[in-house]
C-alpha cells in the first residue's frame, strides 16, 4: 500500500485488520523483517517549505533524501547530521527517504560536533496506530511548548506512528574542508589521539580510526570544516597537538576528503563482506577494550571511538551474546545491523525501561500493528 495523502494513510491504518510493515524507501531493513503487509510512505513526497534565511526545511516523509540534499545544495546548505546511506552495507536497493532517516535517527560522522538527526528535527506530523493524525513541534528552532514528541518519534522505527511530514533545521555548507591523518596507530593510541583533538577548541567535525585501511595499515582521520584559512590554521594546530603520536599528514584535497568521510559514514570497508555487522555505542575511551575483548572481529571507529562498527566474520565464532556482554560490562549498547538475530537485533532493556517503552507503545498503537517486530519489546527471536 502506497497512499498519496496523509488522510489516505490515516484511513489505511484505522482500517487495518492486521500488522503493517512501515517503509520509506525500504533501504534500512534493520531488525526482524516481518511478513506483514507493507505500507510505504513513498507516495507522500515533496518539499512543503524551504526558508534558507531561517535555516528550515519542511518535507513530506516520503520525499527522497537526494531531492532534499539537492535543493539544499542550491542555497549552499545541507543536513549537518550527515545521514548515512545504508544500501551498501545492507545490500538493499531503493530510494532513501527523509522519513526513513528520521524514523531510524540516522546520523553520520559529524554527529560528534553538530548533533544527531534528532537534534535537527524541529517538528513532525504522524499517524498513530489508531489512525489519528498528530502533530508535535513546529518549524522554529527553539520550541518547548508541551512535551517533546519530536525526539520520541526520531529513532522509534515507525513503532509509535507513521511519519507523514518532518521539519528540519539545516546549516550552511562550509567553504572548505580538510583532514589530518596519522598512520600506524594502535586502536588504543588512536582513540587517545582522537580524545586529545576532540578536547581541543578546533571544532573537529569527524574523528575516525580504521585499524585496517588500504594495504592493511591503520589510519586515524580527523576532519576540519570552515573558511579555507581557518581550516589550514586548525590543521596546523592539530599537527602540533598530535606531534607525540607520529607523522601528521595534512590533506586539503576537497574531493579526497569528501570521499574519505563518505566511506566512514557508509562503513564502506564492510560492504560486500560476509558476516554479522553490529553498531556499538560506548564511552569513547572504552572502545578499544571492547574490541580487544572480542577476538576475531574487525572494527571501524567513528565519533572518536563512541561509535564502533563491528564485523564478526563467518567462522570467527564471535556471538551476539559475547558482543552484548562486552558492551554491558562497560556501559553502552549494541544494535545488530545485519546478520544472525538469535540475540535479537535491538538491545534488551532493563525492566523499568522496558515497562515504560511498552506503556508508550500500548498508548500510541493499542493494537500493536505498527512494525510489531521492531525495537526491543515484543521482538521475535
Amino acid at each position: 500500500m502506497t497512499p498519496n495523502t496523509e488522510a489516505d494513510l490515516a484511513a489505511i491504518i484505522a482500517g487495518a485488520d492486521g500488522p503493517l510493515r512501515i517503509l520509506g524507501g525500504g533501504t534500512r531493513p534493520i531488525g526482524a523483517p516481518s511478513n506483514c503487509a507493507p505500507l510505504s510512505t513513498s507516495g507522500l513526497s515533496g518539499i512543503t517549505l524551504y526558508e534558507p534565511g531561517a535555516l528550515t526545511i519542511v518535507a513530506q516523509a516520503g520525499t527522497p533524501l537526494a531531492e532534499i540534499e539537492a535543493v539544499l545544495a542550491t542555497e549552499g546548505q545541507r543536513l549537518a547530521f550527515e545521514p548515512m546511506d545504508h544500501r551498501g552495507l545492507l545490500g538493499t536497493m531503493g530510494t532513501p527517504t527523509i522519513g526513513g532517516v528520521v524514523a531510524v535517527n540516522v546520523s553520520g560522522p559529524r554527529r560528534i560536533q553538530a548533533g544527531a538527526c534528532r537534534d535537527f528535527l524541529l517538528g513532525v506530523r504522524f499517524v498513530d496506530g489508531r489512525g489519528t493524525i498528530v502533530k508535535n513541534g513546529g518549524r522554529v528552532m527553539k520550541n518547548v511548548t508541551g512535551y517533546d514528541l519530536v525526539k520520541l518519534m526520531a529513532g522509534s522505527y515507525g513503532t509509535l506512528g507513521v511519519l507523514t511530514e518532518v521539519a528540519l533545521k539545516v546549516l550552511p555548507c562550509p567553504r572548505s574542508i580538510g583532514m589530518v591523518r596519522i598512520e600506524g596507530l594502535s586502536d588504543e593510541r588512536a582513540v587517545s589521539a582522537l580524545a586529545q583533538v576532540l578536547g581541543s577548541p578546533y571544532e573537529i567535525t569527524g574523528a575516525a580510526h580504521l585499524p585496517k585501511a588500504t594495504a592493511g595499515t591503520p589510519v586515524t582521520m580527523i576532519r576540519l570544516e570552515g573558511f579555507e584559512a581557518s581550516v589550514l590554521y586548525r590543521a596546523g594546530e592539530l599537527k602540533r597537538l598530535l606531534a607525540e603520536f607520529g607523522d601528521v599528514i595534512i590533506d586539503t584535497d576537497q574531493d579526497r576528503t569528501i570521499d574519505a568521510w563518505r566511506q566512514i559514514r557508509d562503513v564502506t570497508p564492510f560492504h560486500g563482506r560476509d558476516g554479522d555487522v553490529w553498531r556499538l555505542s560506548v564511552k569513547p575511551g572504552d572502545a578499544p577494550g571492547v574490541v580487544a575483548s572480542l577476538a576475531g572481529v574487525e572494527a571501524l571507529y567513528d565519533w572518536g571511538g563512541g561509535l564502533i562498527w563491528l564485523l564478526a566474520p563467518v567462522g570467527s565464532g564471535v556471538t551476539g551474546r559475547q558482543i552484548r556482554r562486552a558492551v554491558a560490562e562497560r556501559g553502552g549498547h549494541a544494535l545488530l545491523i545485519r546478520g544472525d538475530r538469535t540475540e535479537g537485533a535491538f538491545p534488551p532493556l532493563p525492566a523499568p525501561l522496558a515497562a515504560l517503552q511498552q506503556g508508550l507503545r500500548q498508548k500510541f498503537d493499542p493494537r500493536q500493528i505498527l512494525n510489531p517486530g521492531l525495537m526491543a519489546t515484543g521482538e521475535p527471536v
Binding site: E51, P52, G53, A54, T56, E75, G76, I112, A116, R118, D119, T132, V134, K135, G138, R139, V140, M141, K142, N143, V144, T145, G146, Y147, D148, L149, K151, L152, G155, S156, L160, P172, L198, G199, P201, G226, F227, A229, S230, Y233, S281, V282, K283, G285, W303, G306, L307, G332, H333, P347, L349, P350, P352, L353, L356, Q357, G359, L360, K363, A376
Partner: protein, 477 residues
Amino acid sequence: MDMPIPRPEILARKAELIKRLQKVLPSDAVISDPSETRAYECDALTAYKCAPLLAILPASTQEVSDALAICHDMGVPVVPRGSGTSLAGGALPTADSVILGVARLNAVLETDYENRFIKVQTGRTNLSVTGAVEEHGFFYAPDPSSQLACAIAGNIAMNSGGAHCLKYGVTTNNLMGVTLVLMDGTVVELGGAHLEAEGYDLLGLICGSEGQLGVVTEATLRILRKPEGARPVLVGFDSNEVAGACVSDIIKAGVLPVAIEFMDRPCIEATEAFAKAGYPMCEALLIIEVEGSEAEIDEQLALIEAIARRHNPVELRQSRSPEESARIWLGRKSAFGAMGQINDYMCLDGTIPVSQLPLVLRRIREMSGEFGLDVANVFHAGDGNMHPLILFDANKPGDLELCETFGAEILKLCVEVGGCLTGEHGVGIEKRDLMPHQYAPADLEAQMNIKDVFDPKWLLNPAKVFPLATSEARRAA
C-alpha cells in the same frame, strides 16, 4: 488563573504525611511550618502565589525515591523545584502539594575530560557546572540568563536555552544521561557517557517535560573545550525591519555566529540608563558574536560587517578589547534588570520563523498602542526566540490582567505566523490555557497519553502544561 481546588482529604492527613516522610528523610529535610513553607509559595512568576502543604529537601536519589513512594501511596501531589527561577510558574505549588526541592542534591559526581562529560546531581546551578570544569579549559554550553541561580534540574525540566544556543544548542542537545525517579519511586537510568541511549529517546522526552514525568536527580552533561576567543560586534539600525533583514542575510551567508541578540529602542534606552554600556541610540541594535582564533574572528566579522553595511547601519562597532566585549554583553545581560528598574514587566517567550521578524515587531507595536501598554523587545534573533517585555503597573487595578491579555495576543500571533508559544521558558501555568491555540485536541491527547504512562495518577507537578478542562478527567480518575 484557575488552580485545582485543594483536596480536603489530603490536607487532613498532613500530620500522617509528615510522620511518614520523617522516617525516610532527616528531620531538617521536612519543612512544615507555614512561616517556612512560604519561601516556596512562588517562583519567578511572582504574580501567582500559593504556599505548599510541605516542602522536602532530599539529598540523594534514594531519599527522593523513598519520599515519592510515600506521596504516591497517599495520593499527594508533588511539585519538583530547582532554584525557583521559572518565569512560567513551572514550580507553583498547590495548597495540597509537597514541594520537592533539589537544593541539597548539589554534588559533582564525576568529571571526565577525555570523554568530555560531567556527571552532577541536579540541584547544582548551571554556572557552577562550568565552574567545575573551567580550570581545565572546558565549559557547559547552555547559558540561560538566570545561570547564576538556576539549577540543572530546572534546566532539564524546561529544556532551557540561552544566548549562545544558536551554535551550541539548548539543554536537550547537551544532555547525555539522567537518573530519573518516577512518581511511584522507581529509579530509571537513561543514557550515560555514551552517545545515544538504547530504545526510545526517553531522554529527549524527559527534557522539557516540566517535571511532570519524573524527578531527575543526576545528569550526565556534555562539556566542550572553550573556544580560543570570542568577539562581538554592535550594529545599530534605524528600523526594526532592516535589522531583521540583516539577521536573515547573515544566516543565509554561511557564517554561523554563536549569538545574534536584538534590542529595540525602548530596551536600548532603559539598558543604557541602567548599565551605561555605550549603546548607540537607535531603533534597533544587534549584538553579533563569533568565536575562534584572532584570525578566524577577523575573517568572520569582516564578512558580517560587509553584509551589515549593505543595510546602511547607523552604527557599526567591533569590540577592540575584552573589556569592551564585556561591556557590550553587560548591557544585554542586564536588560531585564534595567526594565525592572523602570516598571513592572511581563516577559514573553514566543518563537517565530526569522523571516517573520519585521511583521511581528510591527504588529506588536500596533497592539501596544491599542492596549496602551509599552513593550520593549530584547531577544535571540538568530533563532527567532522573542522576549517582548510588556510594561505594566502592578499597583494599578486591572493592569496585570490587561497585560496578560496583551501577552496572550502576542503569543497567538507567534503561532499564527508559524511559530510557537514558548521557546525556552516553558508552558507552566502561564501559557497552559493557550495550548489549544498551538495544538489540536488530538495533539494534546498524545502528550497526555505520555503523562499517563509515566505518572498514571497525575500527581507530578499538577495543573501545569495542559488546560485544566482538558486534563480534568485524568486528574479526577
